[in-house]
């Protein structure tokens, strides 16, 4: 694991000093800041639209903080999934394609340390972005609705973050395996689609990482099953993916 600390330091500085600090956190913050106001005005917009249609009468309940949180969860479950897949599709391939991997891996930086540092740096970015987004969602929801319980938002966000980390593990593996960022992203979408399909089979929702796919909305609505098994198998899946990434990348010729 020689070189892990030095290379992780490079990863974190790279996040702070390049486009990476803007894209993922920017997407998250956009959703966090726009979600609660949109939740507030959506019923008025829909009622206004319905009023312009002859014979259509629409009555919607008064929006609450739950609608703001639901908007946050919806954006995480849809747009953020694609953002994570596309951005982290180049996690390892970007370094092999640009030639930087050759320069650092001919120094005493082991390939396992290289892969683990890439994963850890991405994990810091993903977690930090989601936490900042959750904080922003809480603040704007409080301002917009005058009420914003912390506990339910924390559990909801944590449930999605668990799924986000599973996706990150998958992207680490496919990015170490394939030489193309687009190919890695395509395969990542394929894995996500398989997990999505597995949610229609009840046992997989209770015992596999597929249970994390819709866990955030389930937690918010109070309909989520016990997440213990999905969390355990999800953690195993992440560990397996990262170990697989190390194994694949260690055998890869550069």
């Amino acid at each position: 694991m020689r070189g892990f600390g030095a290379f992780l330091g490079k990863e974190l500085r790279e996040i702070a000093r390049t486009w990476r600090i803007w894209v993922l956190p920017g997407i998250v913050l956009f959703f966090a800041l726009s979600g609660p106001p949109l939740a507030k005005v959506t019923p008025q917009i829909l009622e206004s639209f319905a009023g312009s249609q002859p014979g259509v009468i629409m009555q919607l309940p008064t929006p609450t903080y739950v609608d703001a949180y639901a908007s946050w969860v919806k954006n995480l479950s849809q747009m953020m999934v694609f953002a994570v897949i596309i951005i982290f599709g180049g996690l390892v391939t970007s370094e092999t394609k640009s030639g930087t991997a050759v320069l650092v891996l001919t120094k005493p930086l082991s390939r396992p340390a290289f892969v683990l540092a890439k994963f850890t740096g991405a994990l810091v970015l993903l977690t930090g972005s989601i936490l900042v987004g959750a904080l922003a969602t809480w603040g704007v929801t409080l301002v917009t609705f005058g009420e914003a319980p912390v506990g339910i938002l924390a559990r909801t966000t944590g449930a999605w973050l668990a799924f986000g980390v599973v996706l990150l593990g998958v992207m680490t593996l496919v990015s170490a395996w394939l030489s193309s960022q687009a190919g890695a992203a395509g395969l990542g979408i394929g894995v996500w689609f398989v997990l999505l399909m597995l949610t229609i089979w009840e046992p997989s929702v209770h015992y596999t990482p597929a249970g994390l796919v819709n866990a955030a909305s389930g937690v918010l609505m109070g309909t989520a099953p016990d997440l213990a098994w999905p969390l355990v198998t999800g953690a195993l899946m992440v560990a397996g993916c990262v170990a697989g990434a190390v194994a694949v990348f260690s055998r890869r010729e550069l």
Partner: protein, 310 residues
């Protein structure tokens, strides 16, 4: 006398990609302390050899040792002792040269005043001391100089450079070659290239690789003497046509050419030619203005060895 372990030793090294043989039984020994030119046309297998030596690729069969350590099993043991510059080095564009050198040093575990001193001296060596722009804004020549500098951050026992001048303009080439030449005697330099003049300028020993084989390896002077039939250049005051006919009849002359008052004789027996030519000139009663040996160039050796059927 104690046998020193060679810096690099390759034995029956092969690398295949499907049916293609990139390396086909390469035999090579690079003595410690030499500035070694690894010469070959494009596609000869130079980069593949370097990739195996640096652990970026695995050999199909055979042995590749650096300082007596098998590269395939060594990992960091070998990498800690080498410096490497790939043909197209990839840098983090957002770093400055100093930041990159510090980062490279940290990967070797170098820190504190040692790192400070090395970074300062290498920035000076690369001519980048006062450059504060990020690497993304560098010219190709600046990147190559930084590439050589980063390869020296660990004061390596062996510096391996893959085509370090191939894409540079004449000024950039001169700067990089000057850097390499300044390392002679301080570290072993293994330098792959297809540019013959670069090898002649900075290397003391050379190996020529062609289609995955090392076709020859020797000190440059010895190589020229061994593979090139030597030439003798004679300037005379007159009687050129007669002298050319005289030389063509001699067994020691394998080819004779002339232009104005200059005769160039390719000789098979140098000693015989040295005795016979002045005698022949004197016998014809003409003046001898110049009589000197002219060794063949490395380019002629190279073309003779690898260029025959291209």
């Amino acid at each position: 006398m104690v046998d020193t372990v060679p810096a690099i030793r390759l034995r029956r090294l092969t690398k295949t990609y499907g049916d293609a043989h990139a390396l086909d039984g390469v035999e090579l020994t690079v003595p410690e302390g030499s500035v070694f030119g690894f010469l070959g046309p494009n596609g000869a297998g130079k980069t593949t050899t370097l990739r195996i030596l640096t652990g970026l690729a695995r050999a199909t069969s055979g042995s590749a040792k650096v300082f007596g350590i098998e590269v395939a099993d060594a990992g960091n043991d070998v990498r800690a002792r080498i410096g490497f510059l790939p043909d197209v080095p990839g840098f983090y564009d957002w770093m400055t040269a100093e930041e990159f050198l510090r980062f490279a040093g940290s990967l070797f575990g170098i820190a504190g005043s040692t790192l400070d001193a090395r970074v300062e001296s290498l920035l000076d060596l690369a001519g980048l001391t006062d450059v504060t722009t990020k690497v993304g804004g560098y010219s190709r020549g600046m990147k190559q100089r930084l590439g050589v500098a980063q390869a020296l951050i660990n004061a390596p026992s062996l510096l391996m450079l893959d085509e370090p001048t191939s894409a540079l303009d004449p000024i950039g080439r001169k700067e990089v070659l000057d850097m390499i030449a300044s390392l002679a005697g301080r570290t072993t330099v293994f330098f792959s290239t297809h540019i013959l003049s670069d090898v002649e300028r900075v290397c003391d020993t050379v190996a020529i690789l062609d289609r995955g084989h090392v076709v020859t390896q020797a000190p440059i002077d010895e190589l020229k003497a061994r593979y090139g039939a030597q030439k003798v250049v004679v300037d005379v005051t007159g009687g050129v046509e007669d002298l050319v006919r005289d030389f063509e009849r001699e067994a020691w002359a394998s080819a004779v050419a002339h232009e104005n008052h200059t005769i160039e004789v390719t000789v098979a027996d140098v000693d015989a030619a040295r005795r016979a030519i002045p005698a022949a000139v004197a016998a014809r009663g003409v003046g001898l203005v110049r009589f000197e040996g002219g060794e063949v160039s490395l380019e002629e050796v190279f073309v003779d060895l690898v260029g025959g059927d291209r």
